[in-house]
Symmetry: C2
Amino acid sequence: MTKLFTLSVDTLGSETELNDILKGLNQSLLRNLNYKFQLYGPEKIIKKKIENYKRLLKVTEIIDCDSYITMEDKPSDIVKSKKTSSMHLAIKSVTENLSDAVLSFGNTGALMSLSVLNIKTLKGIKRPAIASIWPNMKGESVVLDLGANTKLDSRYLIDNSILGASLASILFKIDNPSIGLLNVGKEDNKGKEEIKLASDCLKDLSQNFIVNYYGYIEGNDISTGRTNVVVTDGFTGNISLKTAEGTAKLFQSHLEDAFKSSILSKMGYFLSSLAMKSVRDRLDPRVHNCGILMGLNSLAVKCHGHSEFRGVSYAADIIYSLLDNNVNKKISDYVSEMHSKLTN
Amino acid sequence: MTKLFTLSVDTLGSETELNDILKGLNQSLLRNLNYKFQLYGPEKIIKKKIENYKRLLKVTEIIDCDSYITMEDKPSDIVKSKKTSSMHLAIKSVTENLSDAVLSFGNTGALMSLSVLNIKTLKGIKRPAIASIWPNMKGESVVLDLGANTKLDSRYLIDNSILGASLASILFKIDNPSIGLLNVGKEDNKGKEEIKLASDCLKDLSQNFIVNYYGYIEGNDISTGRTNVVVTDGFTGNISLKTAEGTAKLFQSHLEDAFKSSILSKMGYFLSSLAMKSVRDRLDPRVHNCGILMGLNSLAVKCHGHSEFRGVSYAADIIYSLLDNNVNKKISDYVSEMHSKLTN
């Protein structure tokens, strides 16, 4: 029997255009035939725009709402108020088993707080982390945390290692994903106390074959693909990811300027434009911009607040592939297995 | 009267080839005619290789030494032992006024410890920071700290703001360089306690026109050039810089692969190779890889452990320009002016 998956999508509270959301979901639907959608937002407007996407229209339920959480709303205020906001309703649908996962482009802190409160964390996981899939020289790696917990805490780093390894094993179909702990140097004496503590614990786990811990890695190792999983705290991860995004944009902008600088290089640009496009697609931060909230009982994914249709469709694909692989059950099993080994 | 500047160069303890050091210095000498050099390393080998660089040979004194500090040596051990190492002797030359600045490619922690101990920090500065000059969409910015102090401390962040602003004002010839504090969001409630404290203090200083504080910035703002100075702690800065370097390399590697993918794109690559080269030069981490130790009584600069001649010549150019602008006097004046305003 073919499994059907329902994704509830919060369409409000960000700069992402409704059209990009619809076009992205429609594209993903071409690849993932058993997708269904719930769209949370103003019914009248969605109904009008979705007319252009016949295929999407057939498998979509629109849940009318106007209220939304803004980027400025503080998580602490949102939990109490705005119970009818698009984000709140989309999350509730998951907790009530009316859908399998939630996708939002809005306020990350609010999505995190509402998810923790409603979907709740897996047994043994204290706080969720935000994971992202990063391109590297060898393929891709899982990097986390990208901003859920800005506090540096060895317990979070160990939880993140377990969550990241379970995600990588599902996504990349490998048995013992290697885990690297992001630090300012590879030597044992480098870094902060919390990181050393986490490293010692991961070494123990590794010696007992519970995880496959590589050791400390440095910022440039993310791109070389030194390990399948890159673990860091949410403060460092958030700033690093955004710095890398900025660098990619800077490179692209300089490249485009340079190509316009002479007739020969303009011709060169024209001749190589297809090659250029493939690089842009592979490294475009507009595509690789979804954050997977890890450690919850159901899947919640946050896309960049200013996503384009490619980013939406990439995120929808990832979610489908995770659901299709029974990600929550697997991660939950993995986490409880790790924890039972930890306590033995 | 033309001023002569002497740079003492530690040639040992890294993977940087002696030939790259000599070629780089020789290139910088073509642009900066009043440079003199002291090279610390094995006299016999240096004498043989420097024969190829007649111009450099004329203005260079070789100080024979074989002992050097390795990348594995711990800073705490080095301070006591290895008093005849190339790095130690190069630093001593600065403290004894036999040279104006020191350049090393070796162990960063050792260079920092030996510099603090011998050259000593400026009055009012608790710990030096490592600053780097980063390319951005508008030109360049000063980013610090890149790894001197991995501890997050509001006092260091404020010191770094003052040091960074003074460096930017000299390098970019601007009066009130704007300062941004790196954080995980732009809103006042974002980030850690130490950062909020530093931000409040910088706001006060800004209201009294002591500094030009912009506010919080995010990782991607480094590349857009939102502010002239980017302030962060050494842990976050080190990992971000290395992540950005890795991203630039990844982009370049994918681009080269893509250009080889078809005959048309190969032709395109050939036609646009000059344009490509200019981008590589502008964004090449092998060029922009020098860390300026800020807050010391004399200038000390650390280049990447695996530098190429372009990186060496870029670093030598920066040092010359800073010396020519009387950087130590200016920074010292700037810092004491800030501190006197702070205490008033």
